[in-house]
């Protein structure tokens, strides 16, 4: 009896120690990970004089919100954020709509070469973008859209769509055939099957991919600086690099700009965290 009790309390003690060890380790790791974020938040709230006098790495001696105003208006972040949203929102909607259509056709109909088409589309997305940069920039010149937002929207859609087709195809394939056959018997055409049956069943995957593609497109730099030139057209990522050049060593403004640039994707992440993680696993290619 007493031997049993000591063994029991030893087990309890061991599991308590394991819990403490876990929280200590995981907690330390999280703090280490969040430290740079805390740092940029603190820096964005300090005044320039404070940083100049005490150094960037010192503890803060001031508090101001004016850096955000400076980055927002003088630094052109407002326009840049609008540009980013003007590109990102249509891109997400159109890409997913096109991808869902193609995935529907390829997964639910006996098209010739459907497997090769699927792989061709995925393969295009896996190409290193570098091989496309020069031709794409020339192509947008030829088409008369160089240095306009439609060029950026076009290339983002064209480059992204193959990947989403592949993921959605995998998802739609698992929807039972019987559901579709029942609809065919009832006289439903492809459009109705797509719109009323397959699309609603694909909602979870679409939600996951929306969260994911929003951040990818919003965070892109390379395509933007390839097809755009004017500062007034640049999205937030490129504008942030501009800010870095405009406010050399004014770290308070640069930090405020970084916070502004990161805020939308962080908001999407916090709001749709589950979709987000699910999306990453759906799309384990990127």
């Amino acid at each position: 009896m007493s031997a049993d009790a000591t063994a029991n309390s030893a087990a309890v003690r061991r599991s308590r120690a394991a819990t403490a060890g876990f929280h200590l380790g995981a907690g330390a790791l999280s703090v280490l990970w969040l430290l740079p974020i805390a740092l940029v938040l603190v820096t964005s709230l300090r005044s320039f004089d404070d940083i100049a006098a005490h150094g960037l790495g010192s503890r803060p001696h001031s508090f101001t919100l004016s850096n955000f105003g400076q980055a927002w208006t003088d630094g052109g972040q407002q326009q840049a954020l609008i540009n980013s949203l003007l590109v990102t929102v249509p891109c997400v909607l159109v890409t997913l709509a096109l991808a869902a259509m193609a995935a529907f056709a390829l997964s639910r109909y006996e098209l010739p070469f459907r497997r090769s088409l699927l792989l061709l589309m995925l393969g295009g997305n896996l190409l290193p973008p570098q091989i496309l940069l020069i031709p794409v920039s020339k192509l947008s010149e030829v088409m008369g859209v160089y240095d306009t937002l439609p060029a950026l929207i076009g290339v983002q859609i064209g480059f992204g769509v193959g990947f989403y087709v592949f993921v959605l195809h995998g998802f739609m394939r698992s929807i039972p055939v019987e559901i579709q056959q029942a609809a065919v018997v009832d006289g439903a055409g492809p459009w109705q099957i797509f719109r009323r049956i397959i699309l609603p069943l694909t909602r979870p995957a679409l939600a996951a991919l929306s969260a994911l593609s929003f951040t990818w497109i919003f965070n892109d730099l390379l395509w933007a600086i390839t097809v755009l030139r004017s500062d007034s057209k640049m999205p937030i990522t490129a504008a942030l690099i501009g800010l870095q050049g405009q406010y050399v060593s004014m770290w308070n403004v640069i930090a405020a700009g970084s916070v502004i640039a990161a805020a939308p994707t962080v908001a999407v992440f916090l709001r749709f965290q589950r979709h987000f993680v699910a999306g990453l696993n759906l799309g384990a290619v990127k």
């Binding site: 876990f22 929280h23 995981a26 907690g27 790791l29 990970w33 969040l34 974020i37 740092l39 150094g55 960037l56 790495g57 010192s58 193609a102 529907f104 639910r108 109909y109 098209l111 497997r115 088409l117 699927l118 792989l119 995925l122 896996l126 190409l127 570098q130 091989i131 496309l132 020069i134 794409v136 020339k138 192509l139 076009g154 064209g158 769509v161 193959g162 592949f166 993921v167 995998g170 998802f171 065919v184 919003f218 965070n219 892109d220 730099l221 390379l222 600086i225 390839t226 937030i236 990522t237 942030l240 870095q244 930090a255 990161a262 965290q273 990453l280 696993n281 759906l282 384990a284 290619v285």
Partner: protein, 311 residues
């Protein structure tokens, strides 16, 4: 999740019926054809056609104004004597090994730690994952501030008595490349962790129980149960790492532009500056072809797996 875990297990035992299974009417309705063709054309316009041009341009000399001049393999011959190219290629390999290797190992370690369903684990996972949603540009600027001569890193070294290590981390040729890898890792580890977390979740707990009954130690269970079961995920992580490494551009471009004196130059940044700053579009295309060739093995093997999986 399906894409992630399915390929290894499901592909060999695919019933032959599936190919002949009547999924819809025999004759394809025109609308369905349009559903495929519209996206395909969009991709053809912005990806396939430019890619073909890219390969052709690699065989030319072109300033972007006058018509491209065909020069055969001259661009590739030039690379053999181009010191910047050679160091950029070396850095790219180093980047692949350090950035790729460390993010895989540390991502797996983080996943092993945070796979336990304990109270508060959601917060820890979110903390590690949060940087993944930042753009690489924002990430770079955060770390640039940390690396400044009067920044936190140097201040920290002072405080712990290692003041002699104080450094202009990004301005020194010996440290610039490593200083750029750290922020890239900070952002990548959370991503790899999420992939491994899903993989670990897919392992049947019965396997661990059986191993425990057989007297296997924790290390043996990891070596003989966890690792073999993660084979599918490992393949995905490897593809992710190689493709991401070769694509890495934003973080280097925002932090150092490949400098100082090309000491943090990668093939991707060298390609960009050659093409769009030196306006040597032919040579830039040839550099892009080199990047493509390096990525090709991984892309091809990924497509083969995807092909098998796509019934």
């Amino acid at each position: 999740m399906a894409v992630l875990t399915a390929p290894e297990r499901r592909s060999p035992a695919r019933p032959p019926v599936s190919g002949r299974r009547a999924r819809g009417p025999r004759r394809t309705p025109p609308l369905v054809l349009a559903f495929v063709l519209v996206p395909l054309l969009a991709e053809a316009l912005w990806v396939f056609w430019p890619a073909l041009q890219g390969f052709y341009l690699a065989l030319t000399k072109w300033d972007g104004v006058s018509p491209p001049q065909f020069v055969g393999l001259d661009n590739f011959r030039e690379m053999a004597h181009d010191d910047v190219f050679r160091s950029a290629a070396g850095h790219t390999v180093l980047w692949l090994v350090l950035f790729g290797g460390l993010s895989a190992v540390l991502g797996l370690a983080a996943a092993l730690l945070l796979q336990q369903e304990r109270r508060g684990v959601g917060f820890y996972r979110a903390a590690l994952f949060l940087p993944v949603v930042f753009s690489l540009v924002a990430t770079a600027l955060v770390w640039q501030a940390i690396y400044q001569p009067d920044g936190v890193l140097n201040r920290l070294l002072d405080t712990v008595g290692l003041g002699s290590l104080r450094h202009a981390w990004l301005a020194d040729q010996d440290t610039a490349l490593y200083a750029v890898i750290v922020p890239a890792l900070w952002r990548q580890i959370g991503y790899v962790m999420v992939l491994y977390l899903a993989g670990l979740k897919g392992i049947d707990p019965v396997l661990y129980e059986a191993a425990k009954v057989d007297g296997a130690s924790a290390l043996q269970r990891f070596r003989h149960v966890t690792l073999p079961q993660l084979r599918g995920v490992n393949a995905v992580v490897l593809s992710v790492i190689v493709i991401d490494s070769l694509r890495s551009f934003d973080v280097v471009w925002s932090l150092t532009r490949g400098g100082p004196y090309h000491s943090s130059e990668l093939l991707s940044t060298y390609m960009y500056s050659t093409a769009f700053q030196s306006l040597r579009l032919g040579y830039g295309s040839a550099l892009a072809v080199v990047i493509f060739v390096l990525a090709f093995g991984v892309i091809a093997s990924y497509l083969v797996r995807a092909f098998r999986e796509a019934d």
